[in-house]
Amino acid sequence: MTAARAGTRALSAAALAAVAGLLLYGFLATESEKTVGLMLLGAVIAVAGGIRSGVLPRLVAAAGAGAVLAGLGVAMVVLVGVFHDDPFVLLLMSRALLVLVACLGLHVQLADAGVPNFAGAAFFGIGGYTAAVLGRGDLPHPVVLLASGAVAAAVGSLLLLPLLRTRGHYAALITIAFGLLFRTFLEVNDTLGGPQGLKLAGLRVLGWSFNDDRQILGVDFSGYAFYCLAAITLALVAVALVRRVERSWIGLALDAVRLDETASACFGISIGRWKIAAFTLGNALIGVAGGLSAMMVGFIAPNNFTFQESLVLVSILLLGGLGNLAGLAVAALIVIWLPEKLQPIQEFRYLLFSVLVVLVLVLRPTGLVRRTSRRPFGSVAA
């Protein structure tokens, strides 16, 4: 790669990250509801214009997806620095990122392998409860977080056989039934706190407690700033992982299984194996996100993991355009932040999202953003 190309690459990535960072900053910093609405409108017009005129895709292509991702990561870290002592904003950022990670798990299951999961919130909860129970012990907390993912994946494996023997509505029913079962189980189980839920110890890594506010170089940092950094790291790792999986032959096999089971079986692709792999990987991601989220909030109860919440996760996937990672990220941010920023719609958020999803499904069944197909021999520009 020549120095000039490396330069363009870095510049394009930096430009994209700067614009995205500024947008996020404006959205998070503003208090007035009117500004939020105007900004949203402006951003939508700008992005749509960017895509239509070809500027945005060209910038992304020039930078390369990896550089864009790194740039966005830096922008988020800078935002943490800017909002260093504003717990509310930091909490919002972390929540959106963790929901994004959970949605990435669903994305692997539904958008890649075609396995429906209407119990996303349940697996999020399994991660949270695992963190609550194990976090009290002596296990180092990073291990506890990994265990959250492992337990979610393990519990999910109970559903594997039913899911492999069914598909479509029937598979969806199994996950719905599991979600309801899980929540009822939590409500009546006294060891796990029943309807009152459990308190959690805060995240602690190498003696560093994430719950305490601290001063670094004379600047006060709210404890949530550190959770936010952890969430950024987790989100970046998850996005990179999912992208790697999708671009590898694993992703190819998953696509084949989703699109035509009979044909892929004829070509020697084991349907069962790939559905299991996708479902397990997805649940593990959801579980880790759930574990970190529970530690950050410091409290979990069955009411956080209702069927309604599972539906919100699936709607984020759908609104972002099934199979589109960038769209997924934007949808997660909007769905989580908008109700917090626009107080008047807070109460109506489920109604609003459900009507929105119905409209998308009826009017644009292919999703808001059309899914791009795989280019087997490298992209044209490269």
Binding site: L181, F185, V357
Partner: protein
């Protein structure tokens, strides 16, 4: 013995309610091959429509129990029949031919919208609402078995509905048309059957059944809640799938089976009765793993 009779009585009551919901799912699946997941919330809406009618009647000064009951049931079923047909028209029919998951998600979200509307716009809708006892409250005690007249009346009404529906499907022209569409849509069309009319009528009938089950649910528990339809919908769907989606007898069988499982889980098994739903759903998942197409297969079996 008398205690057993009590459990059987409660089980039959619940089973009938579930069967009514499951029949709706089976009817919809029969004519359109879709799962209409807003069905459970239609049930709730029906119960609330009945409650609102009751409030209006009381306000208007009509306090004789029998006309009240008749009007409440009538208002609930008719309004939900209309709502069901509208939902079928705007939510389900446009998605005909779309991937099954899209239809599922669209109806789930439609149901959520309905539920949220009840919660937000019905006065005090976010709290559980007391449902008036419109049926006579006489009861006879035999040992520990308490035979309540209102339960007997509800069971009788439910049985009449189920039998009546099966007769409609078997003996009337509309029933013939519904069965024809369920078996083969294209052939049915070429035979001069108005496809859209049949589908919408089926949605109306199924939703009216759900509304009836909703009123029954309210009368049985004396309380309705904006979220109660969700669970009843999932139970009804599980029952329909257990029995075999698309089969009339299967839906009834599935309904009673689920109620039986719940009762069994509540009384006969060595854990707290609060786990009865956990037990029932776990068995549903197991049964579906064992027999994915349901216990009674649709005449023309569909591979799941």
């Amino acid at each position: 013995m008398d205690l057993l009779a009590q459990y059987v009585m409660n089980g039959v009551m619940l089973g009938l309610m579930y069967a009514l919901v499951a029949l709706g799912f089976t009817l919809f699946f029969g004519v359109l091959d879709v799962v209409q997941f807003a069905h459970g919330d239609v049930l709730t809406a029906g119960a609330f429509a009945g409650l609102a009618t009751y409030a209006v009647l009381v306000h208007a000064g009509l306090d004789a129990a029998v006309p009240q009951l008749v009007l409440v049931v009538l208002a609930a079923t008719v309004s939900m029949a209309v709502l069901g047909a509208v939902l079928g028209r705007v939510l389900v029919m446009p998605l005909k031919g779309a991937p099954p998951l899209n239809v599922l998600l669209a109806t789930l979200m439609g149901g959520t919208a309905l539920r949220e509307c009840i919660r937000l716009f019905y006065p005090g809708g976010s709290q559980p609402q007391r449902f008036p006892a419109l049926l006579p409250s006489a009861s006879w005690s035999m040992g520990r078995f308490n035979l309540r007249l209102d339960n007997v009346l509800m069971i009788a009404a439910g049985v009449v509905l189920v039998v009546g529906l099966s007769q409609v499907l078997r003996r009337t022209r509309l029933g013939l048309e519904i069965r024809a569409v369920a078996q083969d849509e294209e052939t049915a069309r070429t035979m001069g059957i108005d496809f859209r009319r049949v589908v919408l009528l089926t949605f109306a009938i199924g939703s009216a059944l759900a509304a009836f089950a909703g009123v029954m649910n309210g009368l049985y528990y004396n309380e309705i809640n904006f979220g109660s339809g969700l669970l009843l919908g999932v139970i009804g769907f599980s029952a329909a799938v257990l029995g075999g989606l698309g089969s009339f007898g299967g839906a009834v069988l599935g309904g009673f089976l689920f109620a039986g499982l719940q009762t069994l889980g509540a009384v006969a098994l060595p854990f707290a009765s609060a786990y009865k739903d956990v037990f029932a759903f776990a068995v549903v998942i197991l049964l579906m793993t064992w027999k994915p197409t349901g216990l009674i297969e649709e005449q023309l079996g569909e591979r799941v």
